[in-house]
Symmetry: C2
């Protein structure tokens, strides 16, 4: 309830705070002022203080913020201490790379299954996991708690997979497919990652460089 009013703009900045604070913590920096943190992160001190105050008064007047303490607070707020169970749908080059690239346990997740429809891929292994036939997805979901699905499948298969997943109670999706998931169910949470959108934006900015700020 109390977190009801946190805007997406603030939420999306939290991981960035977390990253910078983790780095400062590694460098054994003990305390930091909103001013200094803002400088490092290239934002305003006002924004830092406003953002942090959405969640509570973590600082101390005249002193600043304890780096390690603030880091842990944000860690808790983000929920990184969880171990949400995720499955990967689509074990192609990209899906496999994402599975290997991301340090799931550090980010609140655990990868517990990989699926593909391609007979060629089924049986191969990704890390400690063996790629399963996507036909087995439903029974797998019944046998395990599956919180999240990572979607690295072709766009024409997404709607179908989504429906199956939702029916099995999977309600959060990390979506890399070229399909925009906008669920009608309000208990669903989606992160759409459109890499090509990002590249197109870069293209725009190169093309129109000098004209922008």
């Amino acid at each position: 309830m109390s977190k009801n009013d946190i805007s997406m703009s603030v939420i999306r900045r939290l991981p960035r705070y977390y990253r910078f604070l983790s780095e400062l913590d590694e460098q054994k920096v003990e305390r930091i002022s909103s001013n200094r943190l803002a400088q490092i992160m290239n934002v305003t001190a006002s924004q830092v203080r406003q953002d942090l105050n959405c969640f509570g008064g973590f600082g101390q007047q005249g002193y600043g913020y304890s780096v390690s303490q603030l880091r842990l607070e944000i860690r808790r707020i983000l929920g990184l201490n969880h171990r949400y169970q995720a499955v990967l749908l689509g074990a192609g080059n990209f899906g496999t790379a994402v599975a290997g690239y991301i340090n799931f346990p550090k980010l609140g997740f655990e990868l517990i299954g990989c699926f593909d429809t391609d007979k060629e891929k089924i049986g191969r292994s990704i890390g400690k996991l063996v790629i399963m036939d996507e036909a087995e997805l439903d029974s797998f979901c019944r046998a395990h708690r599956v919180d999240t699905a990572i979607l690295c499948i072709p766009k024409q298969n997404v709607e179908n997979s989504l429906e199956r997943l939702y029916r099995q109670g999977v309600k959060s999706y990390w979506n890399f497919s070229h399909f925009d998931i906008t669920s009608k169910h309000k208990d669903v949470v989606v992160e759409n990652v459109h890499l090509s959108d990002s590249l197109m934006t870069l293209c725009y900015r190169i093309t129109n460089a000098g004209e922008q700020q």
Copy 2:
């Protein structure tokens, strides 16, 4: 100059318009109203009209927009007809997967070189390209026009690579490393893609589900 005042919010929505229009075009839809397009894209019709009007009056009162024409306009605005030359730094699993996953020519780019420091990887091929020693990056840049660098390297190497690249005239970066690029040079364009930030945001939203809108 005229594009000086286009806000980042609008720019970041352009690729999404482009995707939806491309799909409609494939489905042979000839014309569309801002209302219908808004409905499909889950935004307001006002926003659609405002956004498009930043670049010119592409519609016709009483009729709507020609899908194929509007698509081409956005394509032109994004600069997708260019063929910016890009190099990949860091040919690990992830870099390789990105190189294979992205259809560069369709997005205004062409991948012309891949580099790594790992002797194991040098000499292997990615598609039609052979992975080169990163030591040869500078001479490669002098021999070819390199517009963009795709960074899939460990964060501790980023600052160093950036300096070399900038000195060679490479001024745009598609950054996947866990390092936030914020250049002091105003002729530099960067797209930072932080996949783990996206996953942390998902974690937050799962953890606080029901409390958000």
